[in-house]
Symmetry: C2
């Protein structure tokens, strides 16, 4: 270990601690800010972002130019690139979040005790949320808006490719929030791209209350492996669709096609198709996929359906392709499908297509994933589609919040006890 590295690491830790303390103080103010004031401040932030569009686009041009110099892939550059329409989209998304129902202050439940004390559980913000994300600059605004709407302060750490874009978006948003009377530290962007700062955030137990990683698998895996702060995330979306033998063939075909190919790069995309051995038209399920140049990798029985289906390796059943690739297995009825899913699902979204309600009910009851669907496309696994307005992420952990996490998942509760002098006997 070089001795010169020590002070730098310490100073990054100090920096994160100092930002976190400022964020926590702002969070205490936010927690008491009325819903209407948060709404107004977010609308002003959206307006400020619209005004700042030329600055944001100029900053983004610097990021794009650096990305091109550094040889980033076309897909990464596309995720990074902003234009007037995208900036308008970001501003409009802030406004959408601004008017979402505020979960803070809701009474979750209430009871009067026999001794006359009245107990309530009151929904409150969590405090300070850390967001660690990669190249999409819109996350800066989306995540900040969700945190502020739910009364939380947020500490953002974006990817270095988007550093100028993120700073410009952050600057504009804070202008609007401050104009709306919120503390400037409600939304902070880590001022350094030093990777040690990510480590410092992950270790900041007691200073940062929860961390949400937004990005690829390697980012999420690092966050989950290193964090001492609770993490809300999903690592994989290895999602199964099981076509039961009595499934309506037209429905099954439409759901399978949509679940795989509507968008292949989202975490709700199907990655494994399980076809019942006695399903009458297996070829009808795979043909539309093959016709759209989707690569299929199957077990022996699946390969018998169509010669264009390649051989799946053991690894395929545990792979999230996020691409036009699908693993296909033929299973012997519901039990076999459940066993395959129990072994290989990442606990994100698994679906059954079946006519028999009893079969569907068993699938819904026994599949232990965050989202379990009957007769619907797994691509619906999304906070917006679930009517939550927008999501901070999708969680596959078992505690706090699962599936699409929106404003409610950014809150906790406290117990209020109102007495009239009660003492405990």
């Amino acid at each position: 270990m070089s001795t010169s590295a020590q002070p730098a690491a310490a100073s990054v830790q100090d920096l994160v601690a100092s930002l976190a303390r400022a964020g926590r103080a702002a969070g205490r103010v936010l927690a008491r800010t009325p819903s209407a004031d948060k709404e107004r401040a977010l609308k002003l932030a959206a307006a400020a972002l619209r005004r700042a569009a030329p600055d944001v686009l100029a900053a983004n041009a610097r990021d794009i130019s650096a990305a091109e110099t550094n040889g980033l892939s076309g897909a990464m550059i596309d995720r990074l690139r902003l234009d007037e329409k995208r900036v308008e989209g970001i501003a409009a998304a802030i406004e959408d979040v601004a008017v979402l129902a505020d979960p803070v202050g809701a009474v979750i439940d209430e009871q009067a005790r026999p001794n006359g004390m009245v107990l309530q559980r009151l929904r409150i913000p969590i405090g300070l949320i850390g967001i660690i994300y990669e190249s999409r600059p819109n996350v800066t605004a989306d995540a900040a808006a969700l945190c502020v709407r739910s009364g939380n302060a947020v500490l953002l750490r974006g990817g270095s490719e988007a550093v100028h874009s993120n700073r410009a978006i952050h600057k504009a948003m804070v202008e609007g929030l401050v104009e709306g009377g919120l503390p400037a530290d409600a939304v902070q962007l880590l001022p350094t791209q030093d990777r040690a700062a990510v480590g410092a955030m992950l270790q900041a137990a007691g200073l940062i209350d929860m961390i949400v990683p937004r990005g690829g698998k390697s980012l999420v895996a690092r966050v989950q492996a290193e964090a001492r702060v609770p993490v809300l995330a999903h690592l994989d979306g290895i999602n199964h669709t099981y076509v039961h033998h009595d499934a309506d063939p037209a429905m099954a075909q439409a759901i399978v096609r949509n679940a795989k190919l509507r968008r292949t790069g989202i975490c709700g995309a199907m990655e494994t198709l399980l076809i019942d051995a006695t399903y009458p038209d297996p070829h009808g399920l795979v043909e539309p996929l093959l016709a759209e140049a989707c690569e299929l990798r199957g077990d022996a029985r699946a390969r018998a359906i169509d010669p264009r289906i390649g051989a799946a390796s053991d690894e395929d059943w545990d792979t999230e392709y996020l691409d036009a690739i699908l693993s296909v297995a033929v299973v012997d009825g519901l039990e076999d499908a459940l066993a395959h899913i129990a072994r290989h699902s990442s606990g994100h979204t698994d679906a059954i297509v079946a006519a028999d309600q009893a079969v569907a009910d068993r699938f819904l009851a026994e599949v232990d994933s965050a989202i379990v669907m009957h007769n619907a496309s797994s691509q619906f696994a999304d906070g917006g589609e679930f009517g939550l307005g927008a999501e901070i992420g999708i969680a596959t952990g078992r505690l706090h919040a699962r599936g699409p996490v929106a404003l409610e998942g950014l809150t906790t509760y406290k117990w209020l006890v109102r007495g009239s002098g009660q003492v405990r006997p």
Copy 2:
């Protein structure tokens, strides 16, 4: 590092992993077990424990004898000691938990989407809970009963002082549960007292879903520091009672006395008293405590109330005494009290005694603790007193569950989506 230590550590890890896998399999069965069957199995477990009372008492005698040989303190030996009445109490407590309302299967909320899909959030067990506890053998039965009632499997690791008692209680409970049709692995007791096994449990992310430590501060601190598995716990109960200047003196006196002295060793006991500088009868608050030989340590203004009040050091404001000791500060009104609490509270239970409803409302709103009380003794901070039946513990973290955690805190939810062929546009 000695080479011979390696295989042992690995084998303890393997042991924990193998127990955890067996527990998870049992948990999947428990998750599907109807409420009435869990109730019946727990009642059979209570009956089996009653039948096994002679064995349990014989085992306990071995633990007591070892404890005496090892020179354990009288208080520790008392916590360890069982007699017929205590065994009956443990059995009765299992029966109490058996009939608590089962949270599993409740629909948290439901909505129909515009496209016709129906979404529900269904309450389900968490999976496998790890309990790491110290010398009280009743925790073996209490924690196991709460986990089973809520459909969770449990892996218990008790203290070495209580090893024979725990094994006898565990053996009897499992007999009853198996008689009731539940899998034997629903409740497992770690068969080794190797301390490395605790470390292996704490590292078993993905195998154990949540760990609840039950014991002293050093145990909880170790668990919180080392765990890679989510932990539900509180480290300290540094609880404040603030007596506002308009508090009814008789009420304030009764609450202060009860909050400190009813039982000094419980986490809900008051540890710091904040007296408003303009409260008319400060001596009336401290006199009953001094009369009962409670040691008071105060700041300068508090010491002026009574010469028997000693000087508090800086440390006192951050100390959980769990004893007949109280720190006392005089504060200048609500703001000053809130500031003191924000700086020193451990986030467990803080209380105000006040007549002015607006003052009380601000206190309830602004104190950021798991439990905030108005005109009641902090000793009510308890799952039973909160009408939850029994508690697995009290949590001061911000995620998942806060305050007294009972059956609901041992559950999570999944999203069920029922469609009729919907695909995402």
